[in-house]
């Protein structure tokens, strides 16, 4: 019997094992990086346990899985859910020891869209193209969890140092949430008015959103002459362009629908990309819940790069603060 595992009693919704930064270097042939939708929560969950920040951990959306432990293991849950251990609620953002036979319910995500479960030592999962990340739509690195499946643990340890994140380490998004964007390759395909609408309007997150695309609904957008005065091979719609590479974080306009392309998105296509969400703001996109609202905010390329440095530093200091907590407990 395999004991160094977690048995899936209920899979939750689209729960997948991911690592960070995922499957890098295959975008050029259409294989997405995958990895966590909320890099920030994912890295914090691993950091709490003393794992490398990118180690394999579990992502769940809206409804977390219910798992039974085959051995003792330290875990951390991060995200807006109310997890329980043998039906007793416990706090997210701290190290908890799961004993063999106990049942962990990651709970319903009430705040944001996604939660993370990290385990001490990570999961044992075959690497595909160098990564344990899961691209469920393409079946690369497996699929979403299924009931009855055993999640193998790489090197489980229990009774490690206590650690707890500072309360401000996992912020709640405002409603509307603010998502930064830089100018994309086709910003000049929108008229000045169109740009003001895209960046100024409040957008509603569609329920037709997943790891391949976050769809938004809102006002219609006005185009510039550039979107009409083009060779016919670009296609008939003002948002059509000769197929071109997409960036992760690119905001496509598909007819009237803006779509933010997350870590499982397509690598290329025939729609314009007026603006791009910087990588350091994508964690917020990962927490956009269907029917909640959001607004874009223009930033410069320099600001976007500074945001990346700030995010990395914030994660590092939150983990360091959690370590200090360990000292205090000891």
């Amino acid at each position: 019997m395999v004991t160094a595992s977690l048995l899936v009693l209920q899979p939750g919704l689209q729960s997948t094992i991911q690592d960070w930064p995922g499957r890098i270097g295959h975008w050029c042939v259409g294989i997405p990086p995958s990895g966590p939708m909320d890099e920030r929560a994912f890295r914090l969950a691993n950091g709490l346990l003393g794992n490398p920040q990118g180690m394999s951990a579990l992502e769940f959306q809206l409804l977390g899985p219910k798992l039974s432990a085959g051995c003792d293991i330290d875990i951390a849950v991060i995200g807006g859910s109310a997890p329980t251990l043998d039906a007793v609620p416990f706090q997210t953002g701290k190290v908890v020891t799961l004993r063999a036979g106990q049942v962990l319910d990651c709970g319903i995500v009430q705040r944001g869209a996604r939660g993370y479960l990290a385990v001490a030592g990570g999961f044992r999962k075959e690497l595909v193209l160098g990564s344990a990340a899961t691209f469920p739509r393409g079946g690369i690195g497996g699929r979403a969890l299924a009931a009855g499946e055993a999640l193998l643990l790489a090197s489980p340890t229990a009774g490690g140092p206590a650690a707890q994140l500072p309360p401000d380490a996992t912020p709640t998004l405002d409603d509307p949430a603010t998502i930064e964007v830089t100018a994309g390759p086709h910003l000049d395909w929108l008229s000045a008015e169109g740009i003001a609408t895209l960046v100024g309007a409040v957008w509603t997150v569609s329920s037709q959103s997943d790891r391949t695309g976050i769809r938004l609904s809102g006002p219609s957008i006005a185009f510039s002459k550039r979107a009409f005065d083009k060779a016919p091979e670009n296609g008939p719609d003002p948002t059509n362009v000769i197929n071109t590479g997409y960036a992760v974080g690119g905001v496509n306009l598909c007819g009237g629908t803006p779509i933010i392309l997350p870590v499982d998105g397509p690598s290329q296509g025939g729609f314009i990309t007026p603006v791009v969400v910087p990588s350091a703001a994508m964690w917020k996109v990962g927490q956009l819940r269907p029917n909640r609202t959001m607004m874009f905010r223009r930033v410069t390329l320099e600001e976007a790069i500074a945001m990346r440095q700030t995010l990395d530093a914030t994660i590092a200091s939150a983990i360091a603060a959690a370590r200090e907590q360990r000292e205090a407990v000891r």
Binding site: V29, L129, P266, A304, I305
Partner: protein
Amino acid sequence: MDLALNLRAIQLASRILDERIAGVVETLPMFISVLIHFDSTVIAPAALRERVAGIWREVRAEDDAVVPSRLVEMPACYLDPWTRACVEDYSRQIKPIGDDPSFVAEAAGLPGPEAFVRRHAFTQHWVGGVGFWPGLPDMMPLDPRCRHSIPKYDPPRLWTTTGAIGVGGGFTSIYPMNTPGGYHLIGRTPVPIFSLDDRLSAFRRRATLFQPGDRVKFYAIDVDAFNEIEAAVAAGAYRFQITEGELFSLSRYRRWAASVLEDETDGALPW
């Protein structure tokens, strides 16, 4: 799509990689653009832009565009039962439509499906870009007499047979896995274009078969041959038909394309 610009994009993408610029992760040439994936904590965008502008000046200054181009021969079971079933399913579930090959032949102004697929197998197809789904190629016919412009599905299909060969706009594509899709289906290949099975020689270095700048030649097979090849693939024993080491020159291509158009004589087309 402008083939000259596509060749320049393929050249630029490959030269950027040749320079081994620290921070550059990969390049994605797609038709007439190149996407560069880089780490902004290693190289600043302005510095990279300058390096790329220099490489682009060099590439553009060359009189002829010449790129390495492999020839990949792909068996195609045209007018096959599997994609027909897929289209019939769409017709039942989504919207009543006729069969795809008849629609395509009519859109192309040809007498029937057989004429269309004969012409499709006659020309080589140029891979102008790869992606959207893992390994999916966007291919245009190289023989100017074999070009087509085919409307796409509206609304798109919810699923497509793995290995289905579809045509849409001026292009041909192959579905690497069961995915939604919008191209009309004219056949199916038993040869995988995306695979994690490294017993198959083509997938030892990469999980995908095609790269931009490849040429693809389809040849017609029947259902029995399809099943045989499918079994060889499953056993890890299929031998890919890939000719390496050939160069594709834009100027030579243009001379050839002009000559075949001149040669065209009444009613004596070769397909």
